[in-house]
């Protein structure tokens, strides 16, 4: 099961590694994309400028042609020659043969009267004197009107050319279908989202745009006049590139809107590819980071666990040391009064030794009581001496011994007891065990303490199995068929003075002495398993090599 602190550690590691490895990747990607985008925007801006220039030339040329045609017609004829509807109609037919751009044609004299007219409207006789366009044409010799919708509701504009001076001056005026502009203007539009249109000085649309009808205000408002071609990035419609250029023949400005995103479309494939690589790279980095972090955290966890075990064993050692001191102190304090009691009782016994019933009434009773005192002083003494043994820090002897022999001689102490309680002692000794260097007497003490406990656990009618084997170290396992222990008991079983036996039957020191001795011998003793079928203690001794020398 994963501990939460290791999970959060793992996540933190993972985030740091991913952050440090993915950040440069993303920065690189973003910078490259930005550079590409800028380069493409520049390219688009140049393309827009080229388109604006070419388109302006085309429209100017168209206007030049119309103006030149009208001027030629006017200058090669007199007012009298063109002043009748018949002759004008003939000329109109000739002009329409070369270009079907004209809608009507009219001749206006210096007084502003429409002296001749050919076309779909009934404009003959209308007087234009005082109209701004008439004054401008008379003054400057040329007038090009804004586009407007006529009676039949299609867009057109007027060109008027003046011939002659002063009172003999007259105008040739033609209405021209402006759809041709629309076609011209639109023909240069490069992209689907791009737009091209003309606006007049007031900013009103002269050709329909994608976003506005004729004569509606254009998206840029009333523009200033300038002579060159201007290309700008704007916020218009989500970042359009706008190219503008004023026509030289009419007071109109050509406007081209280009969507840079559309121009970047060819980059999209590359972008998708790049994102694919980034995703793949991220996945690879993630997998690598995950594996690394998992192994690192796993190792950390392992080490923490080992440290916890070490801490636990250090704790146990220090507990033993502290309790050892306590035991020694208690033993001392108890031993002195015990000695006194023993001596006092002994003195009474001495005094009664040569007395009889006549001299001392109830002599037998008194003797019995004194012996009981002596007996129990003896019992208490054995307890305090064991406590001193527990506290004793004796340097272990180092002698070459055979573990099986030690087990065998230890079992000899218990044979009668086992027989008496109908407990079978079953041994399975590995004959191939190497000899070892250890303190035989102390090892025997350990085995004896554990075996005594095993016999007590079985009580009557059962079995105690003793097994020796080599498992890197040398091991002795002692298994009883007793009722097992609770986990709480198993945890405290090596604590000094911990006993499950009735008061007065056990000191609770046997196993803690065994623990202390095994610690000194460089080995260990532990509860290998316990359950309702019995308990197994395992004594482990370091394999001291082949034990020679």
């Amino acid at each position: 099961m994963q501990q939460p602190q290791y999970r959060s550690l793992r996540i933190r590691f993972l985030l740091v590694i991913l952050g440090f490895s993915l950040l440069p990747l993303f920065v690189l990607g973003t910078v490259i994309r930005m550079e590409f985008s800028n380069a493409f925007t520049d390219k688009v801006m140049r393309a827009v400028a080229d388109a604006a220039s070419a388109n302006r030339r085309a429209i100017d040329m168209f206007l030049d042609e119309r103006i030149a045609q009208l001027a030629t017609l006017a200058r090669t004829h007199t007012l009298e020659e063109l002043g009748t509807d018949e002759s004008l109609a003939r000329m109109f037919d000739v002009m329409q043969k070369s270009a079907r751009a004209y809608i009507d044609l009219g001749v206006i004299d210096a007084a502003g009267r429409h002296v001749a007219y050919v076309g779909p409207y009934d404009l003959k006789g209308v007087n234009y004197k005082g109209e701004p366009w008439f004054d401008e044409a008379m003054l400057r010799g040329l007038h090009v009107s804004d586009v407007f919708l006529g009676h039949r509701n299609f867009p057109h504009f007027i060109i008027a050319v003046r011939v002659g001076q002063g009172s003999r001056a007259w105008l040739l005026r033609a209405t021209i279908d402006s759809d041709i502009f629309t076609t011209l203007v639109r023909s240069v539009r490069p992209g689907k989202n791009s737009d091209a249109f003309l606006v007049n000085a007031a900013g009103l649309l002269q050709t329909p745009s994608q976003r506005g009808k004729l004569q509606e205000p254009g998206p840029l408002g009333a523009p200033l006049r300038f002579s060159d071609i201007r290309v700008q990035k704007t916020d218009l419609y989500g970042g359009r590139i706008v190219g503008t250029a004023w026509l030289s023949r009419a007071p109109w400005m050509l406007t081209i809107l280009e969507d840079p995103q559309e121009a970047l479309n060819p980059l999209l494939r590359a972008t998708y590819l790049a994102w694919g690589f980034v995703l793949l790279g991220t996945a690879v980095i993630f997998a690598g980071a995950w594996c690394t972090v998992r192994s690192v955290v796993h190792r950390l966890e392992e080490r923490d666990r080992e440290k916890a075990l070490l801490d636990a064993s250090l704790l146990q050692s220090s507990k033993m040391a502290a309790l050892g001191k306590l035991a020694a102190g208690v033993a001392h304090e108890v031993n002195n009064p015990l000695a006194l009691i023993g001596e006092a009782a002994g003195w009474i016994d001495d005094l009664l030794a040569d007395k009889d019933e006549q001299a001392v009434p109830d002599l037998a009773e008194i003797r019995e009581s004194v012996r009981a005192i002596v007996r129990h002083v003896e019992r208490a003494r054995s307890v305090t001496h064991r406590m001193l043994g527990f506290a004793r820090r004796m340097e272990p002897e180092h002698e070459v011994a055979d573990l099986n022999t030690v087990v065998g001689t230890t079992l000899e102490f218990l044979r009668n007891e086992a027989l008496y309680r109908n407990i079978t002692l079953e041994t399975r000794l590995d004959p191939a065990l190497p000899s070892l260097r250890t303190d035989t007497a102390q090892l025997q003490q350990v085995l004896l303490n554990i075996l005594e406990n095993a016999l007590d656990a079985v009580d009557h009618d059962g079995k105690v199995r003793i097994r020796t084997f080599a498992d890197g170290d040398l091991c002795v396992e002692i298994t009883d068929t007793g009722p097992g222990m609770s986990p709480e008991t198993a945890e405290r079983i090596f604590d000094p003075f911990f006993t499950t036996k009735a008061a007065g039957e056990g000191t609770g020191l046997g196993l803690s002495i065994a623990y202390g001795i095994m610690d000194k011998l460089g080995g260990s003793v532990k509860v290998a398993s316990t359950g309702p079928d019995g308990t197994t203690f395992r004594v482990t001794l370091p394999n001291s090599g082949n034990g020679g020398g």
């Binding site: 033993a331 015990l338 000695a339 006092a344 002994g346 001495d350 003494r381």
Partner: protein
Amino acid sequence: MSRMRVLLVDDEADFRALLLKRMTHRGVDAMAVGDGEAALAAVAEGHFDVVVLDVRMPGMDGIEVLRRLKRDHPDVEVVLLTGHASIEAARTGMDLGAFDYCIKPVSINDLLVTLQEAVARRRLAAGAE
């Protein structure tokens, strides 16, 4: 074998008195004192074969008494009697030349056996000289 002369040194008066009575009762020529200075003085005056010395005493402790005894009277045997866990002290005592040590409470018969062995060694050593 003449009667052995034993000096008991123990700060606990009751214990000292009882042990003295029991030894005297068993025919041991014994004397008892309560501290280290008295013990040193007694040994200087009388001719004791063996001293039974309590290790832990107020004032001069048993180990110090032992050191001085062995310096001034190397022929007097010493048996340490200790009631506590200072086995280290007992071992130090052995290294300083004590004959043996017993842990309280000790049965008087065991103690007397140890004392007799100590006296036997002393007499053996004296005879060899």
